[in-house]
């Protein structure tokens, strides 16, 4: 039986078999794509090493969840659902599109397993997929082109808007969908006209619509439409493939890899250089990222992978208060640099030896503005990381001596005195005296020993107000009958921010002193009320006894019945819990503090819209207290306003830095008397049963 229409593999165009074009287009397209990819991979080969091949199972799990299941997409419901439809459609249609390429010169081609019933089922499915992708593209284009959500806007200082590229790509995808459907519909229409067995076209699909429209079309017209649709698809397909690595749609190719290689742990900081131990640091010629090749290959892959979706910046507190930092543009400027300096045609641009990224594409204030709260990384649907890049850039600046004056004094004081205020070491444990009668605290500096070490850290040791947290913590531990002590003058700053501000050697120094003191003390367990210390001791230190945050301890003790809490007194207070970044996002402790609050009978508690892993940074801890950013307002003020909006009049937090920032912000926001802030430990002490 004659086929209803000649296939591209059999058709002749002015005596030239179109199969020839169908063969040449993929060959040329694949060759061009291979060359482009080689140029894109070139910089990664010059990059700093990165250890991303560990824990393959955990990595595969990330791929299944974050890449395949698009786990983070629905955090932005509208955009997320549109993306899931396009992504799923792509996965389905990739098989069809690839087999179409082969069918152009090999008429009978089918992928193994797609010949029989499964092939028919797949065909129905892909018809629907093409339809929903087209609909999603139209909606997406309207959204981007007409409604223009604010987070996609590009401030003038960061370069040009990317809407054009986005809409163009949506048009390319639509072209693929339409041409594929026309290719199929024209054949089906011809088959029906010639009373042949036609491939089933699912009702309601794009192909079905086209087929019905073409039922009366002349065969000659159907034939040319069939061939034309094929080649439009073929050309668009390879054009699209080669176009992807030229812009933000590179993520279509790189996302799978980027998610596989994404960071598995949170709260930790990359070593100065992978493969170089702390003991070998002195041998390194240079620290941190100064020139582009100092980035690791994963960080470069991040730049390629950024889809410019703006979710990082939309959640970035620094961006929210108009500090000169928008994490999205850390990536985009990195990608622009790569495209410009590793051009597709021509040689790699060689920078002179004094060249520094800081001052060219990045700016010191931009890099110092980050509080390392981690909201950007929590949100990124592609596993792009920012904190390690920021820290590496800071390491480079510190190594060059390029440190803001406001940070130099606390850093020097940390070096000399072990705390950023330059206070005397011997006064570190002075806060214990005031509570000596009702909650005696053992001083390990005086040779006493204890089962549990309470690691206080600098701010709760020295700041008059925050000493309240230290004293409350001590009272709770004493009430729970825990045998505990503090290091006193043997304790130094945990160095959480010292490390995150890029002063690695000073951090190593503090870490060594603390580690010696802690191991020497012979304690079995460590408790701290400072999430920054908690994070550092857990993520940055090695071989310490287990570390708990006081909220975990209180939760255990309350639920085990060893601590009982008296009821709230019905004074009309409405509490809300503010998740500290270093307790929540970086260490996933979200529930324990809430369970403690809920264990206070009659306590009325509301949630802010931004809570748990979307908590909003109070303004940053440690050295961030000393940095003077350019900003339009303070993060803490925004946070206090969020609490007010939630209907709360007491903000409970579990971090001394949060308390400093929020108490200050209450004053700045003019909410004194209407809003108060309290640490969880202080609140618990108020409710300790006699």
């Amino acid at each position: 039986m004659e086929p209803a229409l000649l296939s591209p593999a059999a058709y002749k165009f002015f005596h030239i078999p179109t199969a020839l074009f169908a063969l040449l287009i993929p060959l040329a397209g694949t060759a061009a794509f291979a060359y482009i990819m080689k140029r894109r991979i070139d910089p990664l080969l010059k990059a700093a090493p990165d250890n991303r091949f560990d824990q393959p199972l955990a990595r595969i799990w990330r791929v299944l969840k974050i890449w395949l299941a698009q786990w983070r997409q629905p955090r932005y419901m509208m955009a997320g659902v549109i993306h899931i439809f396009i992504f799923a459609g792509f996965l389905v249609l990739s098989i069809r599109s690839t087999s179409l390429v082969f069918m152009g010169f090999w008429e009978e081609f089918t992928f193994p397993g797609f010949g029989g019933t499964f092939g028919h089922i797949y065909n129905v499915f892909k018809d629907f997929a093409a339809t929903w992708v087209l609909i999603a593209c139209v909606i997406a284009a309207i959204r981007r082109g007409i409604f223009r959500p604010e987070r996609y806007a590009v401030p003038a200082r960061y370069g040009k808007d990317h809407t054009g590229e986005a809409v163009f790509v949506l048009a390319l995808i639509s072209t693929l969908m339409i041409s594929e459907s026309l290719f199929e519909a024209s054949l089906a229409a011809a088959q029906i006209q010639q009373l042949q067995t036609a491939e089933f076209v699912a009702p309601g699909t794009l192909a079905w619509l086209f087929r019905n429209m073409l039922l009366d079309a002349p065969i000659a017209k159907l034939q040319s439409m069939h061939i034309t649709a094929y080649f439009i698809h073929d050309l668009t397909f390879f054009f699209f493939l080669c176009f992807l690595p030229l812009g933000k749609h590179f993520h279509v190719i790189t996302s799978l890899f980027n998610v596989f290689f994404m960071r598995l742990e949170r709260g930790n900081i990359k070593p100065v250089r992978h493969g170089v131990t702390d003991e070998q640091l002195d041998d390194l010629e240079s620290f941190g990222v100064k020139k582009f090749e100092d980035f690791t290959w994963k960080h470069m892959l991040d730049f390629y992978t950024c889809a410019d979706c703006g979710r990082c910046s939309d959640n970035c507190p620094a961006n929210a208060v108009k500090r000169p930092l928008s994490p999205r543009f850390i990536s985009i400027k990195g990608r622009d640099y790569m495209f410009a300096n590793f051009p597709l045609g021509g040689k790699d641009v060689v920078k002179d030896k004094d060249y520094q990224l800081i001052g060219d594409i990045y700016h010191p204030d931009e890099i110092w503005s980050c509080t390392t709260c981690g909201a950007c990384e929590q949100e990124c649907p592609l596993g792009i990381e920012y904190i390690d890049k920021i820290v590496d850039l800071r390491r480079g600046m510190v190594d060059e001596g390029n440190v803001p004056q406001s940070l130099q004094k606390p850093l020097r004081a940390l070096e000399k005195r072990g705390n950023p205020w330059g206070k005397m070491e011997k006064k570190r444990g002075a806060w214990v005296k005031e509570i000596a009668e009702d909650a005696p605290v053992k001083l390990i500096e005086k040779g006493e020993s204890a089962d549990v070490l309470y690691f206080v850290d600098s701010i709760s040791s020295y700041d008059d107000r925050m000493q309240g947290i230290a004293q409350a913590t001590a009272r709770i531990l004493a009430k729970a009958g825990i045998d505990f002590g503090v290091l006193g003058k043997l304790e130094k700053d945990s160095g959480n921010e010292v490390r995150r501000f890029g002063e690695e050697m000073l951090f190593q120094d503090l870490k060594a002193q603390n580690t010696d003191a802690i191991l020497e003390a012979g304690v079995k367990r460590i408790v701290t009320a400072d999430p920054h210390a908690y994070n550092a001791l857990r993520k940055d230190y090695d071989n310490l006894p287990p570390v708990d945050h006081i909220s975990q301890v209180i939760c255990q003790e309350v639920e085990a019945g060893r601590l009982s809490l008296t009821a709230a007194n019905g004074d009309g207070k409405v509490y809300t819990y503010h998740d500290p970044c270093y307790l929540g996002r970086h260490n996933q402790i979200y529930e324990d503090p809430r369970r403690v609050l809920d264990a206070i009978p009659g306590l009325s508690r509301v949630e802010m819209s931004r809570s748990r892993d979307r908590s909003f940074c109070c303004g940053g801890g440690g050295l961030m207290l000393f940095y003077e950013p350019e900003e339009e307002q303070r993060m803490g003020v925004l946070r206090v306003e969020m609490a007010a909006k939630a209907g709360a009049n007491v903000i409970v937090t579990a971090c001394p830095f949060c308390l400093v920032n929020i108490e200050d912000a209450i004053k700045v926001a003019g909410l004194e008397g209407r809003m108060e802030a309290i640490d969880l430990s202080e609140l618990v002490v108020q409710h300790l049963a006699a």
Binding site: D399, K409, L411, E415, G422, M424, L506
Partner: protein, 259 residues
């Protein structure tokens, strides 16, 4: 341009709580930590920036005991090429004039176009730079907060009252004492200091310098430290507003709060 910067190791007030000792005649020196005098640090940064622009070398020099080597190394980690330590038991009890005489002897052994000092030190008297210039018979300017190189001359600004600036043209060689805020000194971390840890710092004593005992004999001596009687805690002024204001004005006058 060859620049010599004179630096001093001091207990920085921002890292120490300066208190009297038990006997009440000296400051409590048990828990002091020392660093380079803040003004000197600005002077070194300024020297480095000048040399960056016009070429040359920067030498840092200090009169002090062996521990002063620490501050010399910190300044070398900033970028100074050489450090010289002037140390001798004979220098320990001297006064500002003696220090200037010791520095003068060391300056004579080199060939410097420009000598910088800090404008003052927390435990000092803002004197050594001016004395050194007089001993060398070269021009001097204090409280310098801008320097522009113009051939063998410098155009400099001095910080005077009200944030105004007194501009001068000054011939080299000369001595300038540097005011804070003239620049933003670069940061030096532990890593920077370790990099210069093994660089040798020559030490010169009185004999090497040809300084005799008479030149360093102190005419000005600190007898003791004491706490001026300022009263304790906030005294809440009582009475009606006029009485309070009267008392307050008296207090302000006494404390130099009214000009």
């Amino acid at each position: 341009m060859e620049i010599l910067v004179c630096v001093k190791r001091v207990p920085d007030t921002s890292e120490n709580e300066i208190e009297l000792n038990g006997a009440g005649n000296d400051i409590d020196r048990d828990d002091l930590v020392y660093s380079v005098n803040e003004w000197d640090n600005y002077a070194v940064e300024e020297a480095l920036q000048i040399v960056d622009k016009v070429g040359g070398g920067v030498t840092v020099i200090s009169v002090g005991d062996d521990e002063s080597e620490e501050v010399l190394r910190r300044e070398m980690a900033m970028g100074a090429d050489k450090g010289i330590l002037l140390s001798d038991d004979a220098f320990e009890e001297t006064d500002g004039r003696g220090i200037a005489a010791v520095l003068k002897a060391a300056v004579d052994k080199g060939n410097y176009d420009l000598i910088l000092t800090g404008a003052q030190a927390d435990d000092g008297a803002a004197q050594v730079g001016g004395m050194l210039a007089a001993m060398m018979d070269v021009p001097f300017a204090s409280l310098v907060n801008t320097i522009e190189v113009d051939g063998d001359k410098l155009k400099i600004g001095r910080e005077i009252e009200g944030g105004n600036q007194e501009m001068h043209e000054i011939s080299m060689p000369c001595v300038l004492s540097i005011q804070t805020g003239i620049n933003e000194p670069r940061y030096v971390g532990i890593r920077g200091i370790r990099k210069v840890a093994s660089v040798e710092i020559p030490t010169m004593g009185a004999a090497d310098l040809g300084v005799d005992a008479a030149a360093v004999a102190a005419r000005v001596k600190r007898a003791d430290y004491f706490l001026p009687d300022l009263g304790e805690g906030a005294e809440i002024l009582e009475g009606d507003t006029d009485e309070i204001i009267e008392k307050l004005i008296e207090l302000l006058k006494a404390k130099g709060g009214l000009k």
